[in-house]
């Protein structure tokens, strides 16, 4: 078992203690989407404000562990202001980084799994998010780290379906 310092990097604890974009948006007009981690009971709510293909605002509420909360916080910072396309690219890159062990656990994510699409952004360019790389050594926590990202994707999909 490797040490805790791989998991609990300072930047992670910082996002956990002072989460960015915490709160709610009036929905509608914003889109509200809930995610559950059935394994531990964590629940996350993502509020998305997408205008003309751009995530103009985004807020996070719900409860969770340091990993899920800090990952959500970092995600919100990384995605806010980006286009939906860029946001999806970011999701793919992030999940590629997380995917090694998730595949072993029997990923239920189907097409989002490894190899489904080439990451648009190399892990090195993920910025702060790279701090979450240590999570892959703790397979159970991968679900924590990806919860907010899966919820984001679900929200983007729902918005797209509604528009179609």
């Amino acid at each position: 078992m490797s040490g805790l310092e791989d998991l609990y990097r300072e930047i992670i604890l910082d996002h956990y203690r002072s989460p960015r974009n915490r709160g709610e948006l009036p929905a509608p007009p914003a889109h509200r989407v809930e995610g559950f981690n059935p394994l531990c009971g964590d629940e996350i709510v993502v509020f998305l404000d997408v205008v003309d293909g751009v995530v103009v605002d985004l807020k996070i509420s719900g409860q969770g562990c340091s990993i899920s909360q800090s990952s959500a916080s970092m995600m919100s910072a990384a995605v806010k202001g980006r286009s939906v396309e860029e946001a999806r690219g970011l999701v793919r890159s992030f999940k590629a980084m997380m995917s090694i062990h998730e595949a072993q656990l029997g990923a239920e994510d189907g097409d989002d799994g490894p190899g489904a699409a080439t990451p648009v952004i190399a892990p090195d360019d993920l910025g702060e998010l790279a701090a979450l790389q240590g999570v892959v050594k703790f397979p159970v926590r991968i679900k924590c780290a990806t919860l907010s990202w899966n919820t984001l994707v679900q929200g983007l999909d729902e918005l797209e379906a509604a528009r179609a």
Binding site: L4, Y8, L13, C40, G41, C65, S66, I67, R141
Partner: protein, 411 residues
């Protein structure tokens, strides 16, 4: 004579100080216990000397397989005081299947739209989802016995709640709070209301003597892997008249008397409910587990755990005061078990468990398959340490010390 947990641990390979990967302080027996060498040996001996499919073979090793399988049934039945162990003990794959069996057979035959099933707010999903499925499918009404502020069930309104109920389905002991449910008044109220009683004994049978002959319930389930037995085996007990009247559940070999192209008749009890090849080795392993527990004595196991729970609760409160919130009743040998759930210093349970793990301490973090209860408690998850016969004060001390590191890391 009290239990020497250190000596007992010698029987459990996983708890050996020489375990590959390092020794562990195992405080998660409420999720699944460890098992002694004797249980593994019983299964191994079965597989290596006399495995064959049961009940149909004429040859000697098949006869011996059948004998061991049915002897395990009788041993397990006697262990819980079943009045007719040879006919009333049905082997299932876990207690979840046992409860679903009742829901699919007795309940689907008996319950109509509007009929009430009374459960409680502390139930494990295994004793909730089957009834929620029936609510959705059949329109039965679910009512909940509320949790009191003392973390016991609040029975003050029981007679009103049970009025009109056809079934009361409750945990005999909580897997989250450590609450041991007082079944007596519940059974009495159910009787007055003409309701049957199902008790989920998953957290009771491993830890205390149970006497089904006197407890007064109609259906009772428990699960092997929480009581030193293997995975893949659970038990449903029900009164013979009930089992007799119930339609079959799974259809297939073994559960039939005759099959024609246009119909079938069912086998005698308990085989009527055991379709297909049963978990033979697993039943034999569970038989060895109850033999092991019997040799120690459930009364002693109970005393040991009660004393250790009191020690743990005292130490946790002494060490952490307001930083720790314990979700469960005050120490009480009769009404409290060795399951201790808590929230700690604003740190999420996942993080608590993760840090403890680096010290080899195994505790569970999550909703413990009791999400409605979590909502009652106003939390998403708790950290849970649970004690068994092989734990001792050293294990508790390790937990208390480990929590200090948790606090320091997240402070």
């Amino acid at each position: 004579m009290s239990i020497d947990a250190r000596a007992i641990r010698k029987d459990f390979p996983l708890l050996s100080p020489d375990r590959a990967g390092g020794p562990v302080v195992y405080l998660d027996s409420a999720a699944s216990s460890q098992r002694p060498r004797a249980v593994l040996d019983a299964m191994d001996d079965y597989y290596t000397t006399t495995h064959a499919n049961v009940h149909r073979g004429v040859y000697a090793i098949a006869e011996e397989a059948t004998r061991r399988y049915e002897a395990a049934r009788v041993a397990v039945g006697r262990f819980v005081g079943a009045p007719k162990p040879a006919t009333e003990i049905v082997f299932t794959k876990n207690v979840t299947e046992a409860i679903n069996l009742v829901a699919y057979t007795w309940a689907r035959r008996e319950l109509r739209r509007g009929d009430v099933v009374l459960v409680s707010e502390i139930e494990h999903h295994a004793n909730l989802v089957p009834w929620l499925m029936l609510a959705e499918e059949r329109g039965i009404e679910l009512r909940y016995v509320p949790l009191g502020t003392d973390y016991h069930l609040d029975l003050s309104d029981l007679d009103r709640l049970v009025d009109g109920a056809r079934l009361v389905a409750v945990s005999a002991a909580s897997n989250v709070l450590g609450t041991v449910v007082d079944l007596e008044p519940i059974v009495a109220a159910a009787r007055r209301a003409g309701a049957l009683v199902l008790a989920d004994g998953a957290q009771l049978v491993p830890h205390r003597p149970v006497d089904l002959g006197s407890i007064g319930v109609d259906f009772f389930g428990f699960t092997g892997h929480k009581m030193l037995g293997p995975t893949g085996i659970g038990v449903l007990w029900a009164r013979e008249e009930l089992l007799d009247a119930m339609p079959p559940f799974l259809g297939g070999g073994e559960m039939i008397r005759d099959v024609r192209v246009d119909g079938f008749t069912t086998n005698d009890l308990p085989w009527k409910f055991e379709a297909g090849t049963p978990p033979i080795a697993e039943a034999i392993g569970l038989g060895a587990a109850v033999e092991y527990l019997d040799a120690i004595g459930l009364e002693r196991v109970h005393e040991h755990e009660a004393a250790l729970a009191t020690y743990a609760l005292d130490r946790l409160r002494d060490a952490y005061g307001d930083e720790i919130t314990i979700f469960g009743p005050e120490p009480d040998p009769q009404r409290r078990s060795g399951v201790i759930s808590f929230s700690f210093a604003g740190v999420h349970p996942h993080d608590v468990a993760q840090v403890l793990d680096t010290r080899g301490i195994c505790v569970r973090a999550g909703h413990h398959c009791a999400k409605p209860l979590m909502r009652c408690l106003g939390v998403g998850a708790t950290t849970r340490a649970s004690l068994y016969l092989y734990n001792d004060e050293e294990d508790v001390d390790a937990l208390v010390d480990g929590l200090a590191e948790v606090r320091d890391l997240f402070a």
